[in-house]
Structures are given as structure tokens and as C-alpha cells.
């Protein structure tokens, strides 16, 4: 078999071996000793093949920068029967709110989070650290040298995101918005866009 024909199968076998750890496109190119474009094509081919074949129970997905083989959603209910303790306890509303703020505004300090929520957020922050969803991403410039928080790769994986750019846009209030809030929103979005340019590839 020609090498190019072997590539999809090789990638599938690699992804099968590493399981939930997945492989990034960089790792795949170095492992296969191929160009990124070739690897990309092979991945597309595999992805198509999984979708086409209805007898297939697995598929290829990109979460948090890494490609992984996962089971199709069609079989989620069936698989839950196979598991001892399938559904992890869902997160509290407080943790989700704090996580949303950190995801969209990172890097962000605890004080900023407290301010936004109008309530102390230390508990949820500690929970999110313990769950491996957020981490320290340096210190702020200010006098306090406050800890800056950001999300982890595990966050992207758990929330099914390929990258931070995959976060759905924050909702916009349309009707009756006052000029001040508009201005405020624009400023915020500018700041966020800048922030994102610099820190897009958080690992």
C-alpha cells in the first residue's frame, strides 16, 4: 500500500491507542512524518467515513486542540447502561457562573469576578481549580499582584470546545440599550478582542 493510502489508518490507530488523551495536529504530523495539510486531509477523510457508515459507533472530534476518537452521541444512552456511575454530578450554578466569567474574560482576577457577580467567589474558584478547569495564569501588574485566572485544556475538553474561539458569543441586549451601555460594551469587546489576540493559544 502506498504511504498516502496508509495515512488515515495510521492516524486512526494512533488515536485509538492514546484514547482520551488525544493527539494534537502537531503531534500527528511529527508521528506520521507528514505535512500538516496531508494529516488534515486524512482526518477529514476519517471524519467523513465515520459519519457515512451507520454501522459505526465511534467518530473523530477535536476538543481542546487535540483530536480524539469518541463514541457517537446516538449511543450515549446505551453506553450509560454499561457504566457503573455514568453521570458526573453537575456543577453548581455558582461554579458555572464563575467559569463563564473566567472563560470569557481571562486572564481575570478574583476581585473582578467578585465585582461582576456582586458576591464572593472564592469557594467556586477553589472548586474549579480542584476540578482542573481553571488555573493560575500569572499575576496582575497592579500593586496587589493579584492572581490571574484562566481556563485549562481540560475545560475545553469537558465543554466540547476545540479552542477558546469556539466559545459562543456573549449575548447582546438589543432593544432600548442606552448609549452608555453601548459604549461600555464596545470598550469591553475591544478589550476582550485584544486580550484574545495575545493570549489565544493558552495551553
Amino acid at each position: 500500500m502506498k504511504f498516502k493510502d496508509r495515512l488515515p489508518g495510521m492516524i486512526e490507530s494512533f488515536l485509538f491507542i492514546v484514547g482520551d488523551e488525544g493527539l494534537t495536529i502537531k503531534q500527528l504530523t511529527s508521528l506520521t512524518e507528514c505535512k500538516e495539510s496531508e494529516v488534515g486531509k486524512a482526518i477529514d477523510l476519517l471524519q467523513m467515513s465515520y459519519e457515512e457508515r451507520k454501522e459505526s459507533g465511534i467518530m473523530l472530534k477535536q476538543f481542546g486542540g487535540a483530536y480524539r476518537l469518541v463514541t457517537k452521541a446516538d449511543f450515549a444512552e446505551d453506553i450509560k447502561r454499561l457504566l457503573e456511575n455514568p453521570s458526573p454530578k453537575s456543577m453548581t450554578q455558582a461554579s458555572l457562573e464563575v467559569l463563564a466569567i473566567i472563560a470569557y474574560r481571562q486572564p481575570v482576577t478574583r476581585v473582578e469576578i467578585d465585582d461582576l457577580r456582586g458576591v464572593k467567589s472564592e469557594g467556586p474558584i477553589n472548586t474549579l481549580i480542584a476540578k482542573g478547569l481553571i488555573m493560575e495564569k500569572g499575576r496582575s501588574e497592579g500593586s496587589g499582584r493579584a492572581i490571574l485566572f484562566g481556563t485549562t485544556d481540560l475545560f475545553l475538553d469537558r465543554f466540547g470546545l476545540a479552542s477558546l474561539n469556539g466559545l459562543p458569543p456573549l449575548s447582546q441586549e438589543e432593544e432600548g440599550e442606552t448609549v452608555e451601555t453601548d459604549l461600555f460594551m464596545t470598550k469591553f469587546q475591544e478589550a476582550f478582542a485584544m486580550e484574545n489576540d495575545g493570549g489565544g493559544n493558552i495551553s
Binding site: F16, I17, V18, G19, D20, E21, M59, F63, R68, L69, V70, T71, K72, A73, A76, I79, L82, L83, E84, N85, P86, S87, P88, S90, M91, Q93, L96, E97, L99, A100, I101, A103, Y104, L116, R117, G118, V119, K120, I129, A130, K131, G132, M135, E136, T152, D153, L154, D157, R158, F159, G160, L161, P168, L170, S171, E173, G176, T178, E180, T181
Partner: protein, 249 residues
């Protein structure tokens, strides 16, 4: 079953305000301050079960609401009243800052909901543990040049915990029942005996695999149901104590 539950669980004063605005069908850009303030304070009184530090955050916002309300009540022409308050400019609506805060908070509250949806969607896709590669040869341990920190450690641990959850097939769970509940019940009674009729609840859970812990727990439940033991707590946040139930109780 009786619980002492908060009236409704709010995530903070802003959350409560949003809830009230929703319920009263108020236009967020034209808030009737008197009505909202009254409702807010009424709610606070109903939520007395709150812990003190949490309460203080609610009270700060109550003060803000009252301040805005009073500013709006002041007649525009009596300028002399504002001598000591030069922050107050009549071109500004005193509600603006509050509205901006509420809208900002609401955005993240909604983002949290959509995050939860993505997490639910993701949880429908299962994956597998990495294969054991030993059949392919010795693992060459390459020195990683990335510097690691404790967060990598936590991430790895969580990933693994999660994987274990997803793994355990039915077959494994059946073969793993090693200690029966009745054996465990005897064991607990023996521990109580040794401890003069009582022991610390958590000390029963200090060691053992998860299955052991669950068996221990189920045994305690059974003993409680049989009224052989009683689990008590002196006050909120105190440790729990397990003790023989005396006949007169």
C-alpha cells in the same frame, strides 16, 4: 423528609435582583426603584437563613438601591441639596450604573447556561483509556522540556478520575463486592464497642477503596434503620458522632 432550605437559591444580590425584575415584569432600562427596592428588602427578610458574610453582600446592594431611590425622589430644581454630593450630575440617570452591572452580570449568567449545555452535549461522547503499550516495547521516557506546575498535576488527576468513572463495565462491579454489608455492620458495632459506645463518623471512612466506603455507608444506614445506632451532630458544622442507640431513646 424535612430540610431547612433557603427560600430560593440565589447566586448573590444581582441574581436576586434579576429574578425580581423578571418576576415583576419590569423593564430593566426603566426600573421603578421604589417597587424594586421594596420587593428586594422583603425578600431579604424572608431569606434570614443566610450566613452573615453572604448577608452583608445583599445588604450592600440594598443600600445602593435605597440610595438610587432617594436620588430619584429629589426634585430637580432644588440644586442646593446636592452641595455635598458633587458626583451627582442631573444629566445622568442614577440607575445607569446599576443597569449596566445587571446587564453585564446577566450576560455571564446566560453564558453559564450555554456552557452547561455544551458540557451536557460533550458528556454524550465517551472515550477510552489509553492502550497499554507494553506489548509494543519499552516506553522511552523522554525528558519533557515543558515546565510543569501543580495545575498540570490536578488536571491529570481529574482526567484520570473521570476516566475511571467512564470505564468500569458492569462485569467489574459484580466481581468487586468483597465485604458484605452484614460483615461491615458487625465491624462497625465492634468499633463502637471498643470506643465505649461511640466514635467519630468520619473515622469510619478514613481508609478504603470507594466500594468499601459505600459499603460502610450502606451499613451505617442499615444500622440506623434498625435503630441500633444513632448519628448525631452537636451543631452545624460540628463533626458527626456515631453512637449506640440506648433503649430509652
Amino acid at each position: 423528609m424535612t430540610y431547612q432550605v433557603k427560600l430560593e437559591a440565589f447566586e448573590g444580590p444581582l441574581d436576586l435582583l434579576l429574578h425580581l425584575i423578571n418576576r415583576l415584569e419590569i423593564d430593566i432600562y426603566d426600573i421603578p426603584m421604589a417597587e424594586l427596592t421594596a420587593q428586594y428588602i422583603e425578600h431579604l427578610q424572608a431569606m434570614r437563613v443566610l450566613q452573615l458574610d453572604e448577608l452583608s453582600e445583599y445588604l450592600v446592594l440594598a443600600a445602593t438601591l435605597i440610595e438610587i431611590k432617594s436620588k430619584m425622589l429629589l426634585p430637580v430644581h432644588e440644586g442646593e441639596d446636592f452641595d455635598d454630593d458633587f458626583d451627582f450630575d442631573m444629566d445622568d440617570d442614577p440607575r445607569d450604573e446599576l443597569v449596566a452591572r445587571l446587564i453585564e452580570y446577566k450576560k455571564y449568567k446566560e453564558a453559564a447556561i450555554s456552557l452547561k449545555e455544551s458540557a451536557d452535549e460533550r458528556s454524550g461522547h465517551f472515550t477510552k483509556p489509553p492502550e497499554d503499550l507494553t506489548e509494543f516495547g519499552e516506553i522511552v521516557a523522554s525528558e519533557s522540556d515543558e515546565s510543569l506546575n501543580v495545575f498540570d498535576l490536578i488536571g491529570a488527576f481529574q482526567k484520570m478520575l473521570n476516566r475511571k468513572r467512564l470505564k468500569a463495565p458492569m462485569t467489574a462491579s459484580i466481581s468487586r463486592t468483597e465485604v458484605s454489608i452484614s460483615e461491615k455492620m458487625d465491624e462497625i458495632m465492634a468499633i463502637l464497642e471498643k470506643g465505649g459506645g461511640k466514635c467519630d463518623f468520619y473515622s469510619l471512612f478514613e481508609k478504603g477503596e470507594t466500594t468499601d466506603l459505600v459499603v460502610t455507608f450502606l451499613s451505617l444506614l442499615e444500622l440506623m434503620k434498625r435503630r441500633d445506632i444513632i448519628v448525631s451532630q452537636a451543631g452545624n458544622f460540628d463533626d458527626l458522632t456515631v453512637a449506640y442507640r440506648r433503649e430509652d431513646e
